[in-house]
Amino acid sequence: MECGIKMKSRNQGFRLREATSLFLLENAVWPLFIATYLILGIIQPVIFSPTFLTYILYLSIPLGFAIIAQTICLIGGVLDLSVGSIVGFSAMLAGVIIKEFKLIPPELSLILPVFFGLLCGMFNGYFIGFLKLNPFIVTLATMMAYQGLKIIVARGFTIPGGYLPEIYLFPGSNMVFSISSFLVAIVLVWIFLRYTKPGIHIYVVGGSQDVAHMMGIDPRKMLFIIFSLSGLFAGISGLYYTGFNRSVPITLGNEVLFPTFAAAIISGVSLKGGRGNILNVVGGTLLLGVIEAFLVTYAISPEARIVGYGFMVLIAVLFNQFRDNLRDSILRRV
């Protein structure tokens, strides 16, 4: 685990310069975000206004929850291709149920997308964990299945916000609540991953499933937990997207998957598994938000943005590899 800065006080031979560069490397997403922000701000000065920055954060929150989902999977050494489809399907299914069955108490309706997301994740986790199927294939299959189900339950139509109770739209539409709840969620997930037994076992399984098994940690159970959590956060993402859009568009979740990879990887979450700090994911989320906002102000077509996201994943992987190598070369000398 990242421990560079803590080492400083323990190892006297360890110089301040090395500690600083380690700290910067481990949290490289922040300098990267600031640099990107400054460069894009010089090109497009409107980005510099404080309200715009707050808006970027707000705009990134729904995606941010999906990024948490993907990050948990990547730390656990697996990937979840169905994240975006779960976002769309859970939000759509919940929306349809609320619209069709008006009897459901509005407060209870908040739980629906989260619950459906969890179910979708548990379904993935059952096949991957207990039936030992390849995560790539399983989530590829469910990515298509949940995507199709979304369109089927929606009967091809967007659900307008008017059909949904105000409290249901609140988490995603209220800027202050949206941002603060996201930050609270990040801190909670960070505490879970770093300071609890099941959390650290996600890192262990991400490091090696065989070793986990040898050391009495059941990788099947952990994979089930990982995908359940992923589904849960995808469901939350669906709820926030609904509030943000004040509707459930039929296209919801279609453009979620690639940004989740890009943001998680650029934040230092290794594709190799077992590495990464969820706190940095806030930086990755912001970085993506700034780039997205920049592209929007220049009215770049959605197609071109997809191309951009594709390349961003590649760049993120390259960047991460470069950073890991640099970090290793410093730590090896200690």
Binding site: M1, M7, R10, Y195, V204, V211, M215, G216, I217, V334
Partner: protein, 267 residues
């Protein structure tokens, strides 16, 4: 000499029952009969050198003892009473520690977490919150006892350690959790000369602490140096079970090769 009749247990006169007794252990992998009724006794503080060619069943046998895989038939006795080892945690509760080469460490985690892998110390008040301070303290203490430099920084990631230092973590686990039996599978593979020396010294230190040890290696000289007793497996059967001094390294080596050729196994 290479017949089953050479199995000789009469030599041992122990007052206590064996720490671990295996009786008639069978294991099948599909149609392959990997273990064909193996018996084995291990006494407190005894070092057993488990040898045999590839596919002899050494790893299978130790994995059954460690609870990594399940036996298909046979009985296991621990200090005289019958036990069922269904998983790794069952084995650990008895005091069996596995030290399979490169199989029990997570490279990207630090030394402290690796020592406590799967048995992390948690906060006394909040049951599932990890107590890092105590884990690091305990790790440092036990590594210092072993005279290892790694005790200075238990927050160091394991992948930056040398082979010998990694082995030290495994031994630290055995000491920390008061294991009674440690299984070392090829602990000297890929080690430097100094690293090998360190591992062999560790095995001796286990013995001094009355910890029994099953030591698997292809390098007969290493086995011969520290083992009290040599057990030879071939194609899932126990061929030989004798005090070390009855054979020389050369004789043992010849025995393994003879068995291999006799059964026409591809080398």
């Amino acid at each position: 000499m290479n017949e089953k009749s050479t199995v000789n247990l009469e030599h041992y006169e122990h007052t206590k029952p064996p720490l671990l007794s295996l009786r008639n252990i069978h294991k099948y992998f599909g149609k392959v009969h990997a273990l064909k009724g193996v018996d084995l006794d291990i006494y407190e503080g005894e070092v057993i050198g488990l040898i045999g060619d590839n596919g002899a069943g050494k790893s299978t046998l130790t994995k059954i003892i460690a609870g990594v895989i399940k036996k298909d038939a046979g009985e296991i006795y621990w200090m005289g009473s019958k036990v069922e080892i269904k998983n790794v945690n069952d084995a650990r509760k008895l005091g069996i520690e596995v030290a399979f080469q490169e199989m029990t460490l997570i490279d990207s985690l630090d030394i402290g977490l690796n020592i406590f892998l799967g048995r992390e110390i948690t906060n006394q008040r909040i049951p599932w919150i990890l107590d890092y301070n105590r884990m690091y303290q305990e790790s440092s203490r036990i590594l210092r006892q072993l005279g290892l430099r790694t005790s200075e920084n238990p927050k160091r990631e394991v992948r930056f350690l040398s082979g010998g230092e990694k082995q030290g973590i495994v031994v630290a686990r055995a000491m920390l959790f008061h294991s009674k039996l440690v299984i070392l599978d090829e602990p000297t593979r890929n080690l430097s000369v100094a690293g090998v020396r360190m591992v062999l010294d560790f095995i001796r230190s286990l013995k001094e602490r009355k910890i029994a040890c099953i030591f698997i290696s292809h390098t007969l000289h290493h086995v011969y140096e520290v083992a009290d007793r040599i057990v030879l497996l071939s194609l899932g059967e126990k061929i030989l079970d004798v005090p070390k001094l009855q054979y020389t390294v050369e004789e043992l080596e010849r025995l393994i090769i003879e068995r291999t050729l006799k059964h026409n196994v591809s080398v």
